[in-house]
């Protein structure tokens, strides 16, 4: 594998551009939209991306130049084609098309979920893992089988991070809710029963979020945060364990922003120890949404000849990872 790819991520609140080659991340620049109040407003997030895209791209090119990689070294432009917020995706895709035309290089459309997996395989010893991908909008358990990353279990309604954010807003905590819930949960050991919804291999979090909000009426915030975490994480760890039993794979990879939570890591670690499989967590900078992962999967796809024409570079807000024919693995 060879080449240098510039990748742009911007599916939700994080705008991030990175330049990657087969050895490492050469440069990465990120600018995050943070709402003054409430959660992510899709239009405001897209306006943020439009406002800062040129700055972020200029900075990443400058940073790369300092390390001896110039714009003429770039072989392709990768962008997150979906899933994500439509307005954000379109903004980033426009920037990517412009760069592809300007540098006269091919365009690569990357599935955001698969980029999380591939950057994990790159930056940890995991080779053929069951991946638990938990972020704001996504909660999926995936594993590779016969030419595709299959979804073995997923949320039927909202992502786990979203459920936490919704609860946090109702509890008067600011966005993002996850880290605050984690801190408050540490102050309690009193479990309040909440709905545990695993349907076969699939999960549901919206009812859990509502029930946790209801529970605030007659319980302390600390107790509810603790119970919410314990319930939600047990659900996703259970589905991950089932996927291991089903596929016979020997590795678990954690991906996505919610993966920063230490209690979630601890639970996964216990499960993996008890099942005798290895557990892999990438560095924090590769867990949440980042440009490097888009550039890296872009590099893999570019090497496999998996590129797009400008005419076919539409974004797809509901882009499923199991719709992608994996061209970059043997």
């Amino acid at each position: 594998m060879k080449g240098t790819v510039l990748g742009i991520e911007g599916t939700a609140w994080n705008l991030s551009a990175a330049i990657v080659n087969e050895n490492d991340v050469v440069a990465e620049v990120t600018d995050t939209y943070s709402p003054a109040t409430g959660g992510i407003h899709p239009r405001e997030a897209a306006q943020h991306h439009a406002k800062y895209a040129s700055t972020v791209i200029r900075k990443v090119l400058e940073e790369a130049k300092e390390k001896g990689v110039t714009s003429s070294d770039i072989d392709a432009i990768a962008f997150s084609q979906g899933p994500g917020l439509g307005a954000c995706l379109r903004t980033v895709a426009t920037a990517a098309r412009m760069l592809a035309i300007k540098f006269n290089v091919p365009l690569v459309g990357v599935n955001h979920c698969l980029a999380h997996i591939e950057v994990g395989r790159w930056k940890t010893p995991a080779r053929d893992p069951v991946t638990l991908y938990v972020s704001g909008a996504n909660s999926q358990v995936l594993a590779y089988r016969m030419g595709r990353y299959r979804v073995f279990g997923e949320t039927l309604d909202i992502g786990l991070g979203n459920a936490f954010d919704k609860f946090a807003r109702n509890a008067g905590l600011s966005h993002p809710g996850g880290p605050k819930i984690e801190q408050l949960a540490k102050m309690s050991t009193n479990y309040i029963p909440l709905p545990y919804v695993v349907k076969g291999m699939d999960l549901s979090f919206s009812g859990l979020s509502t029930a946790a909000t209801e529970a605030l009426k007659c319980n302390s915030l600390e107790d509810v945060c603790y119970s919410l975490q314990e319930t939600a994480f047990a659900m996703i760890v259970e589905v991950t364990e089932r996927a291991i039993a089903h596929t016979g794979k020997r590795e678990v990879l954690l991906a996505g922003g919610v993966g920063a939570n230490m209690r979630l890591r601890e639970m996964l670690d216990i499960m993996c120890t008890d099942r005798g499989v290895s557990f892999h967590v990438p560095e924090k900078r590769f867990m949440g949404d980042n440009g490097a992962m888009i550039a890296y999967l872009g590099l893999l796809m570019y090497n496999a000849g998996d590129i797009l024409t400008i005419e076919n570079s539409h974004v797809n807000p509901n882009f499923r990872p199991d719709d992608v024919d994996v061209t970059w693995l043997e």
Binding site: R145, G200, A234, V237
Partner: protein, 202 residues
Amino acid sequence: MIVSEENVDGDIMELTNGAEATVRIEDGCVVKERIQKRYRLRELDERIRKERTKAESRLISEARRLGIPTPIIYDLENSVIRMQYIPGTPLKHVINEELSERLGRLVGLLHTGGIIHGDLTTSNLILYKDRLYMIDFGLSFMNSGVEARGVDVHVLFQTFESSHRDHESLIQAFCHGYRQAFTGADEVLVRVTEIEKRGRYA
């Protein structure tokens, strides 16, 4: 869960060690025990195991009332079910068109009664004294939706395809029996082809 015909006289025999439960044979009975998960808070873990054990045994009995041969439940305690051991042959070793059609009728009865098996494989059907027993209701639930029924049938067709050479004739025979026993069969079978295209439950 695979219950084979060998080794019944041994007092205790470990049959499987899945993600969720262990199954062993004790004094000629099947003992299914949902195992403790250390990653889960003890209180939550006990609640879930107890609820699921109760639900499973209720659905086994409910299926039996619908006319589907299932193991008789002897006892239920916390997260342990003691039930009848069916000593026959797993369907996967003996399947033919006639048995596949009978299976279609059984699944039709089950779906008419609003039950989804959740893990319909030819290992979870046992032929014993010319009766076809349905076992392992560990992933079963009540649902009368087309999607859940479609997934149930799709899972079965996948085991046909992966382990039986003449799967096309088996599928046809199954559909024949399924239509006989269940009036909503056609709608479900259309959904099955849609689910296949999605490639979701691979």
